[in-house]
C-alpha cells in the first residue's frame, strides 16, 4: 500500500533557498544543498525544487543546484521553474531531476504537456498549478508565481492537463502559501475528485492538524511542506509520527 508522500518543497532564487508569503516577499533561508541533504537523511519521501524567478527572466539557475543535489540525494527529485521545451526537460533530467513541473509554459502552449509525456513518460510530467480562489468553490489558474491571471478554471485545467498526459498535479494555493494557516482543503478536494492521477497539495502547512485535514477531508495523495521545515518549527520525524498516529498511511522510517 503506497501511503501519503511527505515532500519538502524548496523554493530557489539564484543560489539560495528562499521562502515567501503568497509566493512573494521572498526571504533567504539558506543553502538549498544543506537543506536537501538534511531532509533526505531525515527520511523525506521526495523533494521538490522550484525556481521562483526563472519564468520571469526566462533563465534557469536551478541546473547547478540540481546536479549537486543529485550527487548524494537518492530519492525522487521534482524540478520546476522556467521550463519551456522538451530540450529544457532533457537538460534538467540530465542534471539529476526525475520529474519536471511545468506551469507557465503549459498554459501558454498546452501541447507541451503531451510532448514531455511522450518523450520521457507521464510519470515525469508534473503539471504545476497555482490557484487563487475567485469565488466560493471556484479557483483561477495563475502563472509567474501568482502574478498573472489566465482566465482558466483550476478544476477544468487539471482535467485537461491529465488528458494531455500529465502524470501528477502539483497544486499550490497562492492564497494559503506561506501563511501557515492551513491548506485550501476545498481546492485540493475539488481537484482530487476529478483527477485520476496523484495530487500534491502545496501551500499553507503550519501544524500537524493541517496535514491531517488535507489528507483526510482533502484526500491529497502527497503533501508539500516548506515553511515549518525550513524554519524548524516542526521536525520531519514529528510530522511523520504525527501523521501515522492520526491513522494516515505514511512510510515508516
Amino acid at each position: 500500500m503506497a501511503g501519503v508522500r511527505l515532500i519538502p518543497r524548496l523554493d530557489i532564487k539564484g543560489p539560495n533557498l528562499i521562502k515567501g508569503i503568497h509566493l512573494e516577499g521572498l526571504r533567504v533561508v539558506g543553502d538549498p544543498q544543506v537543506f536537501a541533504r538534511r531532509y533526505y537523511e531525515q527520511g523525506a519521501d521526495e523533494l521538490i525544487y522550484m525556481d521562483t524567478v526563472a519564468s520571469l527572466y526566462g533563465r534557469n539557475s536551478l541546473r547547478d543546484i540540481v546536479s549537486r543535489t543529485a550527487q548524494d540525494v537518492f530519492i525522487p527529485l521534482t524540478v520546476g521553474g522556467g521550463v519551456r521545451s522538451v530540450d529544457d526537460v532533457r537538460e534538467l533530467l540530465r542534471a539529476g531531476a526525475d520529474k519536471i513541473a511545468i506551469n507557465t509554459a503549459a498554459v501558454a502552449r498546452p501541447e507541451l504537456i503531451g510532448e514531455v509525456s511522450r518523450a520521457f513518460g507521464s510519470q515525469c510530467m508534473v503539471l504545476s498549478i497555482e490557484a487563487k480562489r475567485i469565488a466560493p468553490g471556484r479557483w483561477e489558474v495563475f502563472t509567474d508565481n501568482g502574478r498573472e491571471r489566465t482566465g482558466l478554471d483550476v478544476v477544468a485545467w487539471a482535467q485537461r492537463g491529465v488528458e494531455l498526459g500529465a502524470g501528477e498535479i502539483l497544486l499550490t494555493s497562492v492564497d494559503q502559501e506561506g501563511t501557515r494557516k492551513g491548506f485550501d482543503v476545498d481546492l485540493v478536494s475539488a481537484v482530487v475528485e476529478v483527477c485520476p492521477v496523484p495530487v500534491i497539495a502545496s501551500g499553507g502547512m503550519g501544524s500537524l492538524d493541517h496535514l491531517i485535514d488535507v489528507c483526510g477531508r482533502g484526500k491529497a495523495d502527497a503533501v508539500a511542506i516548506a515553511d515549518v521545515l525550513h524554519y524548524d518549527r516542526i521536525g520531519f520525524s514529528t510530522i511523520r509520527a504525527g501523521a501515522a498516529g492520526a491513522g494516515i498511511s505514511v512510510r515508516t522510517i
Binding site: 500500500m1 503506497a2 501511503g3 508522500r5 533526505y40 527520511g43 519521501d45 543529485a70 550527487q71 548524494d72 537518492f74 530519492i75 525522487p76 533530467l93 540530465r94 542534471a95 539529476g96 526525475d98 520521457f120 513518460g121 510519470q123 515525469c124 502524470g167 501528477e168 485520476p196 492521477v197 496523484p198 495523495d221 502527497a222 512510510r251 515508516t252
Partner: protein, 215 residues
C-alpha cells in the same frame, strides 16, 4: 566489486539517476546501445520507464534483443529496473499483446487498483511500499536484497506488474490494495526490480551495491 557497469541506453526515460547511483560506489558507468559493447559487458543494467511496446521497439530498432538474451544466458549479472524488469518477461498485455525478452517466464498485467473492499485506488501506483519475501519465492541470501530487513520500503511508480509463471522466480512482493505486485524477481544471474533502487534512499543504494558484487 565490479569495476564497470554497462547501462543499456535505448532512448527511453531517465538513465542518469541509475548511472549516478552506480558511480556513488566508485564504479565506472558505460552508457551504450551498441550490441557488440553489450555483448562484452561484465555487468549490465537495463533501465526504462513508460510503455512496454515502445521499450521493446527501442531494443528491436537497435538490434539488442538477441544480445540481451545471450547476455542473460551467459551467466553474467543482469538487472532490469521498472520497465527494464517487465521486459525480461515473456510478454505483456499492455495496449495489445507484445512479446518480451522471454528471459523469465511469465506475463506483464495491469495493476488492478482496487482495495479488498472494492474501493478504487489510483493507477499508477506511486510511492513507497514494503518489500516482502514471498512464501515460495527465492531467498534474499546472496541476492541483490541480501542484508535488507523484511518489509523495508522502496519507491515505485508503475501501472503494470510482472506476473512470473513460476513462484520460485519471485524475490520480493508488495501489495497495492488487493493487487499482488511482483516487486523483485530473480532467475539465477538475472534480476529485476519493479521499484527504483536508485531512488529508494539508503535501502536502494544497498541494492545497487549488492548488484555490483553478486556472482
Amino acid at each position: 566489486m565490479s569495476e564497470r557497469v554497462t547501462i543499456v541506453d535505448y532512448g527511453l526515460g531517465n538513465i542518469f539517476s541509475v548511472a549516478r547511483a552506480v558511480e556513488h560506489f566508485g564504479v565506472d558507468v558505460l552508457l551504450s546501445d551498441d550490441p557488440c559493447v553489450l555483448g562484452e559487458a561484465s555487468r549490465l543494467i537495463l533501465p526504462g520507464v513508460g510503455a512496454f511496446a515502445i521499450g521493446m521497439q527501442g531494443l528491436r530498432e537497435r538490434a539488442l534483443i538477441e544480445p540481451l538474451r545471450k547476455f542473460a544466458a551467459s551467466g553474467r549479472p543482469l538487472l532490469g529496473i521498472c520497465l527494464g524488469m517487465q521486459m525480461l518477461l515473456s510478454g505483456s498485455e499492455e495496449f495489445g499483446d507484445h512479446e518480451g525478452l522471454g528471459i523469465i517466464p511469465g506475463l506483464v498485467a495491469p495493476v488492478s487498483g482496487q482495495t479488498a473492499t472494492g474501493a478504487i485506488l489510483k493507477v499508477p501506483h506511486v510511492g513507497w511500499s514494503p518489500l516482502h519475501n514471498p512464501l515460495f519465492g527465492n531467498s534474499w541470501d546472496g541476492s541483490i536484497l541480501a542484508g535488507l530487513p523484511e518489509a523495508c520500503e522502496a519507491y515505485f511508480v508503475h501501472s503494470y506488474t510482472a506476473v512470473p509463471a513460476d513462484d520460485a522466480h519471485r524475490l520480493a512482493d508488495t501489495w497495492y490494495g488487493n493487487c499482488r505486485i511482483s516487486a523483485a524477481v530473480r532467475k539465477n544471474n538475472v534480476y529485476g526490480c519493479q521499484f527504483h533502487p536508485e531512488k529508494s534512499g539508503p535501502a536502494g543504494l544497498k541494492i545497487i551495491e549488492n548488484f555490483l558484487s553478486v556472482v
